[in-house]
């Protein structure tokens, strides 16, 4: 058994740095490259792509990422684990197979998380898939569902590694399982070693957002974080006992210290006592952090408890339309002019008889992000962006709204500019429906292709 296993994070979301995967395998020693591509919204985008073209529905960036790290995989034995499969892991694997030089790859494909084709059968069998926040049964929006995927854990990824894969592609695997699975595989952690499994999950949570734990988006002493242009992505150096060090390659920028890791630990946190995953319930109040040299933070003491008998299901469904329009007003009286334009526009929408579920006005530069909490010194504002959004079930009404912004330039308050972007675009809303399902009805499969 290895004494140290290094898992490097090379992608925090679909759209993250294209250079990071290669830099992670070339900058120093790593055993695994972990690439996280999926967010709640991503699955529905991928589902729309698959509807248009059955060979799509996965994170296309992954193909380029694999191409950039091929020599590391085939010559140095680095293994890659990614949830790039989206709603179509087999197509993702086929695309990788199509690369020149892919003959040295042994690709494991994990499927079984996709429940879209089984929804009616599941509902018929009494699985209501009720919304975790509102309690509403899925049946109330059934015909508007675009995608439905269970969050699956580390077990099928471990199985892929046991079958000798050097690339494991999953669909809606949890972000944290992508890091925990290789540790479980290498160290032989058993399914009831809760503390160790929880430690692997927390290592995953720290590195799953890429550079967000190594200096990126770090508020603590942000002005002095060095060389952000060449920010180093994080690496978890794990030990068999579940303790690990978060670090990055030498010579890279950014900073890893207790504050930077702490900021990432609290990111998107709910109840810290129970971070529920398919494999284990991790307790964030047990985590201990300690600086262990420059750009090294040791993490230890982590406790976990038995997993629940449910899996979370991420369901995406069509939920109306929205559009956002903006105009910029300048000094003098910039704020007053923007407010007047807002009143005039709302009155016109009203006269047109348009119906919306929501109309939201923000003054960017004044109060858009902190709202009523931000003090306003109106006289000192040189310019303000008026930003108005509408949301509604009726596409025509939202479309009509987009035609009411431009006229304000000539028939509204003065000193207005910033309309170069053209008419606002109507966007279909794909909303998110979180639900739970019994673990026993979700069966994952692992195939070597």
């Amino acid at each position: 058994m290895k004494e140290i296993v290094r898992v490097a994070s090379g992608q925090g979301f679909w759209g993250d740095s294209l250079e990071a995967p290669r830099q992670q395998v070339e900058g120093g020693e790593v055993d695994y490259l972990m690439l996280d591509y999926l967010a709640e919204v991503t699955m529905s985008i991928l589902q729309k792509q698959r509807e248009r073209d059955p060979s799509m529905g996965y994170a296309r960036d992954f193909v380029g990422a694999i191409e950039s790290v091929l020599p590391a995989i085939t010559q140095r034995g680095v293994k890659v684990i990614a949830n790039a499969g989206g709603v179509n892991p087999p197509a993702c694997a086929a695309a990788i197979r199509g690369l020149d030089g892919s003959s040295g790859l042994r690709i494991a494909v994990v499927t079984g998380d996709d429940l879209l084709g089984r929804l009616d059968e599941l509902i018929d069998h009494g699985h209501s898939l009720a919304n975790m926040e509102t309690g509403e049964p899925l049946a109330s929006i059934r015909e508007r569902v675009l995608s439905a995927n269970a969050y699956i854990g580390s077990v099928p990824i471990v199985e892929g590694l046991e079958k000798g894969a050097n690339v494991v592609i999953t669909g809606r695997s949890t972000d944290t399982a992508l890091t925990m699975a290789p540790l479980r595989h290498e160290f032989g952690w058993k399914e009831n070693e809760w503390d160790k499994l929880a430690a692997g999950i927390i290592a995953g949570h720290i590195i799953e957002c890429g550079a967000q734990c190594s200096g990126g988006n770090c508020l603590y002493d942000w002005q002095n974080i060095p060389n952000m242009a060449n920010v180093g992505y994080p690496i978890a150096e794990a030990n068999p006992d579940g303790s690990f060090v978060i670090t990055k390659h030498p010579g890279t920028g950014g900073r890893i210290n207790v504050p930077s890791v702490s900021e990432q630990l609290v990111y998107e946190m709910g109840d810290p006592h129970e971070y529920i995953t398919p494999d284990v319930v991790a307790d964030f109040t047990s985590i201990r952090l300690e600086q262990d040299g420059t750009d090294r933070v040791r993490v230890f003491g982590i406790k976990g408890r038995p997993a629940t008998d449910k899996l979370k299901v991420s369901i995406a469904y069509r939920s109306g339309f929205k559009a956002v329009g903006t105009l910029v007003y300048s000094w003098p009286d910039a704020v007053e002019k923007a407010q007047a334009a807002d009143r005039i526009l709302r009155e016109r929408l009203d006269r047109l008889g348009l119906r919306f579920d929501q109309i939201l006005t923000e003054l960017v530069g004044v109060s858009a992000t902190h709202g009523v909490l931000a003090p306003v010194n109106a006289e000192s504002v040189n310019e303000v962006q008026l930003r108005i959004g509408v949301r509604g079930e009726n596409r025509r009404d939202v479309e009509r709204f987009t035609r009411e912004i431009a006229p304000l330039v000539l028939n509204g308050p003065p000193s207005v500019t910033g309309f170069a972007g053209g008419r606002p675009k109507v966007e279909e809303i794909v909303a998110y429906w979180p639900a739970l399902i019994d673990k026993s009805v979700v069966t994952t499969r692992v195939e070597i292709v």
Binding site: S262, L265, V266, E268, M269, H370, G371, Y432
Partner: protein, 117 residues
């Protein structure tokens, strides 16, 4: 003595549906007990009055010198539904840092808290 959170803590925020979470972390471990005592659930709810629609929940993480606040009904429906610039609650962190707390002088001096500049 009035203490501004921006002088004694750092923070990061994120989202879960229509709820924003703010993790508030003491800049020095010895300042954490002051945060735990004075940055109460009720004080934070009052601070965000008019900016969020739902209640506030607080969790303590003394191991990280941190408090975690859940601000419910903060994101105009959240995710893709939201019309807000900050639909995912990324900068609710700094909105919380705008808050001030009243700490008795002796206690503030004992903890070495910085005075408002």
């Amino acid at each position: 003595m009035k203490i501004r959170l921006v002088d004694v803590a750092h923070a990061r925020s994120g989202d879960k549906g229509d709820t924003a979470n703010v993790g508030l972390i003491a800049l020095k471990p010895e300042w954490y007990p002051v945060l735990e005592k004075y940055v109460t659930r009720d004080a934070v709810a009052k601070h965000f009055e008019g900016a969020i629609d739902g209640p506030v929940t607080r969790y303590e993480l003394p191991n990280l010198n941190a408090l975690n606040f859940l601000l419910h009904g903060a994101l105009d429906g959240g995710g893709t539904l939201s019309l807000k610039t900050d639909a995912q609650g990324k900068v609710f962190s700094t909105a919380l840092l705008r808050m001030s707390i009243d700490v008795p002088d002796a206690e503030a001096e004992a903890a070495g808290l910085p005075r408002v500049k």
